[in-house]
């Protein structure tokens, strides 16, 4: 049965009428028409659907939308400023051209934002740990690592 559910995404309040067990991912993509979080596995195994939940990088594919009350949800779209200026992490991924097909990029960027929030100067081991929940099939890892380092340097500056 449908219910009215309120949720706060990218700083804005939204109200949707859906089955409360609907995964957050489907509400973000289909009801709020956001493209950032991607459907990759629906099993919390690949990280394509990462969003920031109260600042923590979290897969959105299984978590029911009804659990989102009082949660601060930020998607890839919510990272850039209203002026269109990119977040340092987005900027770094673009400058380092850290994508091939780019399908995993959302999970990589969201995980990097969460990682650098805690530690803006992570070493290689910390980067690997911070991103290990996100799978990339194109093998773009080496330049994603570089993008994280570049982003860290931008934030520290």
């Amino acid at each position: 049965m449908k219910e009215k559910i309120n949720l706060k995404v990218n700083g804005k309040e939204h109200s949707v009428e859906v089955d409360p067990s609907t995964p957050l991912l489907y509400v973000l993509r289909n009801n709020l028409e956001l493209n950032g979080p991607k459907y990759g596995c629906g099993l919390q195994q690949c990280g394509s659907c990462m969003v920031l939940l109260n600042g923590e990088a979290t897969p959105s594919c299984r978590i029911p939308v009804s659990a989102m009350k009082d949660m601060e949800i930020v998607t890839l779209e919510g990272l850039q400023k209203e002026t269109g200026e990119l977040h340092s992490v987005q900027e770094a991924f673009y400058e380092e051209q850290a994508a091939q097909c780019g399908f995993c990029l959302n999970g990589m960027v969201i995980s990097t934002v969460a990682l650098l929030e805690k530690n803006s100067n992570p070493d290689r081991g910390e980067i690997l740990e911070g991103l290990e929940r996100v799978l990339c099939r194109c093998g773009t890892h080496s330049r994603i690592i570089k993008a994280v380092e570049t982003a860290g340097a931008k934030i520290s500056r």
Binding site: Y26, G102, L135, C138, G139, H141
Partner: protein, 720 residues
């Protein structure tokens, strides 16, 4: 809705430069482009490729798809170079029936060598004609004119001429000269530079990039019920509970094909779970589970072919023999396949991430009975595919459901399990090698025999290669038409051996198979380059020097020497080893040499670092080339270390990332790639060059670190 290209040009208001035949520009789909006869309608006029917009921008039409390989930026660079304009003023329109040239499939590392080179000629010809036209029309000597950023300038007088002033909206009817002079390499300022891919800017912003991101007003969500096995019939079908679910619009059944259409995606999924409970299947044929595939698959052999034969290969007692095995490997796209379809006013429109929109249209026509003129297929990027994944299948299923429920857009999204368990895999292969050395330690005799299933069952116009067809039509599984040549890709060694014989055997294996990045070359190069190390050891020689001693082509030697140099200062500890490998992809495309350093750590193999050197002739975008090469090395490392599709008697049991794991960040080696630029050589396909050599370098390094010669992949079978 009319879909002819001419109509498209009219309705989009371009000034089109129409020219006729460009000699020597025919593309073909033979041989290395996988399987299908050349049945393309020729797109010969410049306006098929290059259209000059009235505002000075340029639109390029390519029949290729962006797969993450960066073809869009490479093509834009080539066009910008010839038209002397900023890359940002160029927009590249990807494959779409009725709109872009028909370039068959985006496959076989051909897109630069074919599509980009066609665009180069078309753009160069357009540039020349623009100047000529301006000269005639405004009575200015042609040599005083030059083209820049979408306008023609006069060097003598301060005057500029726009595309619309020059062409007045008319088409130019000139026939292109038989030879087109493109810019010389020395004049290049855009080609050969690392121009940034703008689509990555869209990706980081979360703009709509993929088929998965497409939305239309009133769009509905679809799902398809998978049978329990490849060969299964629906014996009991009950849609009552599923159809009663909120938001579910319809459950469609045609023979063994069942689909759900719903207003909400989540309810489509729920309905599918209910249908799975309420339907019963009879499995017609079980899979040969539990068999040793290395022994079993050759017993299924039905065809044999001698690929190459030279001299005398009667081996003596002192010859060396070894058998290698490569399991079934999956494409494993991060985003499962997806398509959008609309059937409206007798027209079927499909949005797809297929690698070949024209062949798909033909296959859809074959499947639905609609004439091709009533089908429009639009290419939209999807998740990286690395070959033939579920893209065409999901498009066909979306089309069938759209025809059952017309007048509204349907989006069909495969689940992770569907992509894992139903995509066509890269075939398992067995390679048996034999070699003999002469008194000086050089290889004098070489024997190679391989066993493989086909390496391409792309639809190519034939509905039976589309997954839903047999279920939809209620027919039995049929033998698929496929491209056998892929099995012996790179089976002929690139080395100088006086006596050799290469033979290929083909079987029809238990799993669905098709083209996976590099086709048979991955397994063949893995085997050849492993065996080269085995023979080098027998000869008591350094493996790199041993290879160099058998190589005549200086470009082949150069990449090997480059990797030798890159690793020359590396010191390794007792439980570490460095391995090397080389190949020239397809023996005609890019040259690639690679080294891998591995370490045995608590019983497990860890790849520490990989070094690669690539020569792909003229480079359009060096950063793109590096990205592709690094990616190929890492992907191949994942295949080689841990990947193997498994199945039980019913079906594939590798259904997610825990039953079919791939590399994650913790497994990733450091990667260093050097590019050897040859601006005066033809550009060579590079996107698949790393797959085979990377595998062999890893396995050779494992041998050096542990003394264990791994001949059956994946490596982790022996170290866990």
């Amino acid at each position: 809705m009319k879909t002819s290209r001419r109509n498209f040009i009219k309705t989009t208001g371009y000034v089109a430069v129409g020219l006729s035949v460009i000699p020597g520009m025919a593309w073909s789909m033979s041989g290395d482009c996988e399987a299908f006869p050349e049945n393309l309608n020729r797109d010969n006029s410049i306006s098929d490729w290059v259209q000059l917009l009235e505002d000075g921008r340029v639109k390029i039409f390519t029949g290729k798809m962006e797969l993450g390989q960066g073809i869009r930026i490479a093509i834009a660079q080539v066009a910008a170079e010839e038209l002397n304009m900023e890359v940002d003023l160029i927009e590249v329109h990807l494959a779409e029936t009725g709109v872009t040239p028909n370039e068959g499939y985006t496959a076989g590392s051909n897109s630069i060598a074919r599509s980009a080179m066609s665009v180069r000629k078309a753009a160069a010809a357009a540039a020349g004609i623009l100047l000529e036209r301006t000269s005639e029309k405004f009575n200015i000597p042609r040599e005083d004119l030059y083209l820049k950023n979408g306008k023609v300038f006069s060097a003598k007088i301060e005057q500029t001429f726009s595309f619309s002033e020059i062409l007045e909206g008319k088409q130019i009817e000139e026939v292109i000269p038989s030879t087109v002079t493109a810019k010389s390499k020395e004049e290049h300022s855009i080609v050969g530079t690392p121009v940034l891919r703008k689509d990555i800017g869209d990706m980081v912003r979360g703009n709509s990039v993929y088929v998965q991101d497409m939305r239309f007003p009133g769009m509905l969500y679809a799902r398809v019920l998978r049978p329990l096995a490849y060969d299964a019939h629906l014996t009991n079908f009950n849609k009552v509970r599923a159809e009663a679910l909120d938001e579910v619009v319809k459950v469609v059944r045609k023979n063994n094909f069942v689909g759900v259409i719903s207003r909400e995606e989540y309810q489509a999924e729920k309905a599918l779970e209910i249908l799975a409970e309420d339907c019963t299947w009879e499995i017609k044929k079980k899979l040969p589970a539990g068999k040793d595939l290395k022994e079993y698959l050759p017993t299924l052999t039905s065809q044999h072919e001698t690929v190459a034969e030279q001299g005398n290969v009667n081996f003596g007692r002192d010859s060396l023999k070894a058998t290698y095995f490569k399991p079934y490997i999956m494409h494993g796209s991060t985003g499962p396949s997806c398509a959008v379809a609309l059937y409206n006013d007798d027209m079927l429109h499909v949005w797809t991430h297929s690698q070949g929109v024209y062949p798909l249209r033909e296959a859809l026509s074959n499947l639905t009975g609609l004439p091709e003129s009533k089908i429009r297929v639009t290419g939209v990027p999807g998740s990286g595919c690395y070959g033939h994944n579920g893209a065409d299948d999901v498009a066909a299923e979306a089309a069938l459901l759209a025809m059952e429920h017309p007048d509204v857009h349907l989006k069909l999204q495969w689940t992770r399990e569907e992509e894992h368990a139903w995509e066509p895999y890269g075939s398992a292969m067995i390679m048996e090698l034999r070699g003999e050395l002469d008194a000086s330690g050089m290889i004098t005799k070489w024997g190679y025999e391989l066993w493989s299933d086909t390496h391409s069952t792309r639809p190519g116009g034939d509905k039976k290669n589309l997954l839903p067809t047999i279920y939809y039509e209620g027919t039995e599984k049929v033998k698929l038409s496929g491209f056998l040549g892929g099995g012996y890709r790179n089976s002929e060694p690139y080395y100088r051996f006086p006596n050799l014989k290469v033979e290929a055997n083909f079987f029809e294996g238990p799993l669905r198979v098709s083209a996976l990045r590099s086709l048979g070359a991955y397994a063949n190069i893995f085997a050849i380059e492993s065996f080269m190390d085995e023979l080098a050891e027998k000869a008591g020689k350094d493996p790199v020097e041993f290879r160099l001693a058998h190589l005549d082509d200086p470009r082949a030697r150069d990449v090997l020497v480059k990797v030798q140099e890159m690793t020359s200062g590396i010191t390794i500890s007792e439980n570490q080893g460095i391995g090397y490998a080389f190949s020239r992809y397809k023996n005609s495309a890019a040259y690639f040499a690679v080294a891998a350093m591995v370490e045995l750590e608590e019983g497990k193999i860890k790849i520490r670092k990989m070094w690669g050197a690539i020569d792909s002739g003229e480079i359009i975008n060096p950063d793109g080339l590096k990205n592709q090469t690094e990616g190929g090395m890492i992907q191949s490392a994942s295949w080689t270390m841990m990947e193997e599709v498994k199945f039980n008697e019913e079906h594939v049991s590798s259904v997610d990332w825990s039953s079919y794991p791939i590399f994650n960040f913790r497994d990733i080696p450091e990667v260093e790639v050097e590019v050897i630029d040859r601006p005066n050589e033809e550009p060579l396909g590079a996107g698949e060059a790393a797959q085979g050599p990377a595998a062999a370098a890893i396995v050779n390094a494992v041998y050096r670190a542990t003394g264990k010669r791994v001949r059956d992949l994946p490596v982790n079978k022996y170290f866990s």
